[in-house]
């Protein structure tokens, strides 16, 4: 059984719906869930103004309809499941610490800012700032897993402290900028200026990439840990060949302006 939320009225302006989260729904009846507030621009409305709510409470949450104007879905969740059958808006899973969000369509900018645990899987594309630090904060996500099957735009993993971001398609510019630790794996093309200002952490890509002048070639080897990662991603349904799992990777160290302890690994066949 599941709890179904079906959009019946499309919002005219952005809606902030941080109350759509298993933690907020916990212990509430359907009628109580319907009265949870959402911000429609500057006016406070209720979930029932936009959604038909039916099904079993306490179960997996399924959202239907075009939710590209809905922000903050799954914000702060610590457990449970949300399945979005379509597109969703900005700040998906902001500050989540556990549980899982699955999106069949695309997601807007700022996927999972301040995330510390849990898992987000997006079948389509995502916008700028995936798993990135909020403006003014030097630290991005602290943990968790973000898997995007399509493309992402700029600044994925900005300032990330830990956790993993996987991009099935291409990434934008400044991927992993100022990252402190953690892993970013881009199966498609890595945008330019990746890893600028990184202190530690790994950025892995399966295609050739432009390097900043402050990154230097170290060696070519077969990183053991990467086999485990790649196998895991293959099992998660991403297009990974056997060669990617056991093949050679060029290791580039950087950013020399910082500690020079980060790495960019480029697949070499």
């Amino acid at each position: 059984m599941s709890l179904e939320l079906t959009l019946h009225t499309s919002p005219q302006v952005p809606v902030e719906a941080e109350n759509i989260s298993p933690d907020k729904f916990a212990g509430l009846t359907i009628a109580e869930i319907e009265t949870l507030s959402v911000m429609h621009g500057n006016e406070q409305l209720t979930l029932a103004d936009f959604f038909k709510v039916e099904g079993q409470t306490g179960a997996e949450i399924h959202l239907q309809g075009d939710l590209s104007r809905l922000k903050y879905i799954g914000s702060g969740m610590s457990s449970g499941h949300i399945h979005i059958h379509g597109n969703t808006g900005q700040h998906l899973g902001a500050a989540m610490s556990g549980g899982e969000i699955l999106v069949d369509g695309d997601a807007g900018d700022w996927v999972a800012p301040d995330m510390s645990g849990g898992r987000i899987q997006i079948k389509g594309n995502a916008g700028h700032m995936v798993g990135s630090a909020y403006r003014g904060s030097p630290v991005g996500i602290l943990g968790g897993e973000i898997i995007i099957h399509g493309d992402v735009r700029n600044e994925a993993g900005h300032g990330m402290r830990n956790g993993m971001i996987v991009v099935g398609g291409n990434s934008g510019d400044f991927t992993g900028v100022d990252m402190l630790a953690g892993s970013i794996i881009v199966l498609g093309k890595l945008g330019i200026r990746s890893g600028a200002g990184m202190k530690r952490g790994s950025i892995v890509t399966l295609q050739a990439a432009a390097m900043l002048p402050t990154f230097s070639y170290a060696c070519t080897y077969q990183p053991t840990y990467l086999r485990i990662y790649m196998q895991y991603l293959k099992d998660s349904g991403l297009a990974i060949d056997e060669a990617h799992i056991s093949g050679n990777y060029e290791r580039w160290s950087g950013d020399a302006i910082e500690l020079n302890r980060g790495e960019i690994l480029l697949y070499k066949d």
Binding site: Q12, V13, P14, E16, M39, H40, G41, N42, E43, R69, Q90, D109, W110, H128, M129, Y134, R135, G136, P138, D173, F174, V177, I192, R193, A196, L212, P213, T214, A256, I257
Partner: protein, 451 residues
């Protein structure tokens, strides 16, 4: 020319971010025209001489002349009925008017943004991320012996910058003017400013970040591969020479323009330059400043910062200010079709925004305040014609180095100032907010009585 001539001394030109306050204006009071602007540059002269009072209605609703009061009522109702109203522009008006605009946006729980978001917004982001080692232009004039321009063409955009402050100006520790200074220019092409430079560094388009990053590495004593020349168009020798000059100067300054902030990399480009400035302070005194364009865009940043805590892209829809460029900046809220009403002050987005944004602007009620007719005022639901700041109104503007300067108006305009219109609009909006609250509490009491 009539007999009725007046001279205004120490008037201020608000055309560019230099905000020169040494204008001597000769005004024909009968014809209401400035006939001479002594000390002004070509741009300033054009700004003053082209200013005439047009015969036009002070307020219009859907193109029909109405009284100012009617227009204020309509504007207030429009803004109050909106769920995601935006306020935009503000760079060509006084700080006093900007303050009113912030208050209105706060009352209507809207989003306020200035033209900063389409010029030096990236610098604003970089200031927040990295910090700013700053100064006033007077300090530069008196002390700077290494002046570096990056991605700008001051000879054409800020014509008096070189002579008043940075190149030929004679100062306390720079008594011989240009002889005491080294001027470096980084740009992707030769411009009218190039001949002024002692060293011109031509880099390949879109390679600013790489060059700055290499400079930072060299300042920190790291090695850079000679292949940098092939990538950026600047040789390693040139970079090394520049780094030595930067480390060994007495007082160095960077001025950076939109060639840096609006090309690929944006806030990371400005951020890299600010970080380089910080790095150089290990060796000597080094400062950086964006060369701001519009007259009072610096004031807009200051007013928004002191009133909301953030310089641009600020949202009030939940009753408190939140800052998120990309989410709350005007090009984005319009292009995504989110805004449902717009208050546009002294700016013409309909002439320079991306098509998707302009299309959306056409589909929502727009309120404009502008001294002249523009593409935006033409599509406005409510259009106010206002007096020109600096020429017809007093007030305060900020120079590009955050120094506030008072305006001395030359002659009166038949139109009200931005500040007057916005103050009335604020008062009306406030009344409506209070009325709404009373209604709500009345509703609450009646329901609790029923219960």
């Amino acid at each position: 020319m009539s007999e009725n001539i007046k001279t205004v001394k120490n008037a201020t030109c608000t055309f560019c971010g230099c905000v020169c306050d040494d204008m001597i204006l000769t005004v024909d009071m009968d014809e209401k025209r400035i006939i001479k602007a002594k000390n002004a540059c070509v741009l300033g002269r054009a700004w003053f001489s082209q200013h005439t009072i047009e015969d036009a209605p002070a307020a219009m609703i859907d193109g029909q002349p109405v009284s100012v009061d009617e227009a204020i009522e309509e504007a207030a109702q429009t803004l109050m009925n909106a769920r995601f109203p935006i306020t935009y522009g503000l760079s060509d008006t006084t700080c006093e008017a900007q303050r009113q605009a912030v208050a209105i946006t706060d009352f209507i729980k809207g989003t306020i943004d200035t033209t900063t978001s389409v010029c030096h917004g990236p610098s604003g982001l970089a200031f927040q991320g990295i910090g700013e080692s700053t100064m006033t232009l007077g300090e530069v004039k008196n002390r700077a012996d290494l002046v570096i321009y990056w991605g700008g063409n001051p000879a054409e955009s800020h014509p008096r910058h070189f002579t008043k402050f940075t190149v030929t100006a004679k100062g306390m520790f720079t008594p011989n003017g240009k002889k005491d200074r080294t001027v470096v220019l980084f740009d992707v092409r030769r411009t009218a400013s190039t001949p002024v430079a002692d060293i011109f560094v031509q880099l390949k388009p879109g390679k600013d970040f790489e060059v700055l990053w290499a400079l930072r590495a060299l300042v920190k004593g790291r090695t850079i591969d000679a292949s940098i020349e092939e990538e950026t168009g600047v040789s390693l020798e040139t970079l090394k020479d520049l780094v030595e000059r930067m480390k060994n100067c007495r007082y160095g300054v960077f001025f950076f323009g939109m060639g840096l902030t609006m090309t690929r990399g944006r806030h990371f480009n400005s951020g890299a330059l600010l970080a380089l400035t910080t790095d150089l302070n290990e060796f000597t005194h080094f400062v950086a400043k964006p060369a701001r364009g519009h007259g009072n865009v610096t004031g807009a940043d200051n007013v928004l910062s002191w009133q909301t805590g953030y310089p641009f892209g600020v949202n009030f829809s939940r009753g408190f200010p939140r800052f998120n460029p990309g989410e709350f900046t005007t090009v984005d809220t319009l292009s995504r079709g989110e805004a449902d009403a717009a208050l546009i002050i002294a700016s013409d987005p309909a002439s320079n925004f991306p098509k998707a944004a302009i299309d959306h602007l056409r589909s929502i009620p727009v309120i404009t305040l502008d001294p002249k007719e523009t593409l935006t005022t033409k599509l406005a639901h409510v259009a106010f014609r206002t007096a020109t700041y600096g020429i017809n109104t007093g007030g305060t503007v900020y120079r590009m180095d955050d120094v506030p300067i008072s305006l001395r108006p030359a002659f009166e305009s038949p139109f009200p100032s931005d500040e007057e219109i916005l103050t009335s609009l604020k008062a009306r909006v406030h009344e409506l907010v209070l009325a709404g609250k009373n209604q709500q509490s009345a509703l609450k009491t009646s329901t609790s009585l029923n219960a």
